[in-house]
Amino acid sequence: MRYSAYRIDRARLIEAINMLGPGFDVRVAPHLETGESGPGENMVKTFMFPQPEVLFTFKKAPPTADDVDLLREPSLPHTTTLLFGIRPCDARSIHLNGLAYEEDTYFWHRIEGAIIVGYLCKTVLSTCFCQRVGSGPDDTRYMDVVMMDVEGDHDALLLHGITEKGMIFLSQELGPLLIKCGGAKEEIEQSLGSRQYPKDTNTLDTLLSSDLMALYNAPFWDQLKDGCLNCGICTFRCPTCYCFDIQDETLGAKGRRIRYWDSCMFPLFTQHASGHNPRGGKIFRVRNRFMHKLKYFPDRFGAISCVGCGRCVRDCPVNIDIREVLDNLLEVARS
């Protein structure tokens, strides 16, 4: 059996990560060093959806022998991206977005070439609510390697490979740089116990069995929209907001097709060429964002499209709180 469990000093671990070979694109979550609670900076979203993302380049030229070259796909990188220290919520966002991006080769090229070293949450913030959406601070499901704090020892971390990819990485790449430690695996297993996710599917079940139009026509949307600025902060901060727009940019005879983040909060998102906008008013856009996460996506993919990281709650300048929206929806669903 491969040796895949380690106990290591925090500072020593960061040193070891920095010693990894050039085949790795290493991205370390800042809270690994600080030990700060919460999801922190959204490095997973910018990894999943880099922007602007060049889908292909093109050039305008008269038909000649070499016009096979007119359209060229970008060469996708062969490095392994190491996402080090990401929280369970963010690790889960990769899985949820994968449901919608099932056929997107660009997305999967990145994800398959990545190693997720997750970092379980010892404490949570007041804005965290992963437990309400079918996950939890010690949800290990979407990680290759699990990392956790050691009770009573701030400087120590436990690492344990749980997927084939994670075990190979630990034993062959990072492992030689670490000091092996007997008992770490048992310590992790004991600490995690028999925690299974999703523990609570009550919220999801209620949403799934509720009447879509009853939720859509609920009176609370009208008040909710009052304060909304219709800015894109919530969607751009959200790890499960994956909507994009596409542009062709040209310079002289050359051009590129780019994909970049779009937001359902913007009127332009649904503007038709005819001039009509099916979501022309603020209330339609606010409602759509929540209905998509909490009803349309669950109906289609069987999971709530929210990981409970609370970034939208913390960063919304007018304090629109998705937890309250969820409460309101559940109340309508149960009545």
Binding site: D226, L229, Y260, P317
Partner: protein, 349 residues
């Protein structure tokens, strides 16, 4: 949870009472104010539509959005549907109440000047601002910890953090720079006022932030601009929080022609910001809403403040000070300085 004592508490009580009375008497159909939210440091802009709801209104030092931003929308919402071109006597339309500090009231004046708001349909309750807290510096003061409860008195802000820790901040220290140097903290137009008159501000230092950037050479200014705006994510919160931005289609949303690229790359992001700022020339009241809502802490207010300085120096102009005045860029006077007109032999060659 956010609690207030002292002057702000008194304002809050009077505000609730007056809003309740106005709604109960039918003088207004809705009142625009702030209520408490789920996070103590982010009060929530609310529209109160019944006298019973008036007790939701709050008044404190964390009200960093400019409520004038919501006024045209709420007024419009209350209008009955009508055919295109159909004229309606505004005196028959429902009225809206709003609470306004100095800059918010100046923005209402601008909305009236620019025909976005009918003054006769608005009831303004004026409160002199004591300066609002910068969300960014408040967060920094907490050093990564979470504020679970805030109790505010006249000069101190007591914050309860997780694990029962507490921290006491001196209020004035965290007041936004635009508030500290505000030229008019009291409302310029109102139907009634509550609370004490405004205190003194550091008006002499009003353009100090601008002078620091001006002192750099052109290369230095460019570097400052690129560095300060590099984190922009194009969420447009600055634009959407601004009461001056009411165009049905913003220039960034136009696709024929497309004036500016959509990416977050430097040329696109900088173009957006410089154009946004210039659309506010002669109109910006330095309310600071744009900077306060920015999720990445971009100091875009300095661009508009530079334009305030220019308008002040060239035209002796302060936006939104009187309902009788025409907008600066909407009027011409033979005495206007000719600096923008190129003259042969002087600047034009």
């Amino acid at each position: 949870m956010l609690e207030v004592t002292g002057q702000h508490r008194e304002c809050q009580e009077q505000l609730r009472k007056r809003a309740r009375d106005l709604l109960a008497s039918g003088e207004i159909a809705a009142f625009i104010g702030y209520g408490n939210g789920s996070l103590p440091w982010v009060p929530r802009p609310i529209v109160v539509r019944s006298p019973e709801e008036a007790d939701r209104l709050v008044w404190n030092s964390f009200l960093t959005l400019n409520l004038a931003n919501y006024l045209p929308g709420v007024l419009k919402e209350l209008e009955p549907p009508r055919r295109r071109g159909e004229q309606v006597d505004p005196s028959t339309l429902p009225r809206v109440g709003i609470v306004a500090t100095g800059c918010w009231s100046r923005n209402i004046v601008i909305q009236v000047q620019e025909n976005q708001v009918d003054r006769s349909r608005v009831h303004i309750i004026g409160i002199s601002s004591r300066g609002m807290i910068s969300r960014h510096s408040f967060k920094q003061a907490l050093g990564g910890k979470e504020a679970l409860k805030i109790v505010e008195n006249d000069h101190e802000i007591e914050v309860t953090l997780s694990h029962g820790e507490t921290m006491v901040l001196s209020r004035w220290e965290y007041v936004r720079p635009n508030c500290k140097t505000c030229i008019h903290p009291g409302p310029v137009v109102s139907d009634e006022t509550i609370g004490p008159p405004p205190g003194r501000r550091l008006v002499d230092e009003r353009f100090r932030e601008i002078e620091e950037v001006e002192a750099k050479d052109s290369q230095g200014r460019w570097e400052w601009f690129e560095e300060a705006f590099k984190d922009c994510i194009r969420c447009y919160a600055c634009r959407n929080a601004c009461p001056l931005c009411y165009c049905p289609t913003c220039f960034v949303d136009d696709s024929r022609p497309q004036w500016v690229g959509k990416s977050i790359e430097t040329p696109d992001a900088l173009t957006f910001h410089i154009l946004r700022a210039y659309h506010c020339a002669g109109r910006c009241t330095d309310c600071g809403a744009c900077e306060s809502v920015c999720p990445v802490g971009i100091p875009m207010r300095l661009l508009t403040k530079k334009l305030i300085k220019e308008a002040q120096m060239l035209f002796d102009w302060e936006p939104g000070m009187s309902l009788e005045e025409a907008p600066l860029l909407g009027s011409f006077s033979p005495d206007d300085p000719d600096i923008a007109i190129l003259k042969g032999g002087e600047k034009g060659t």
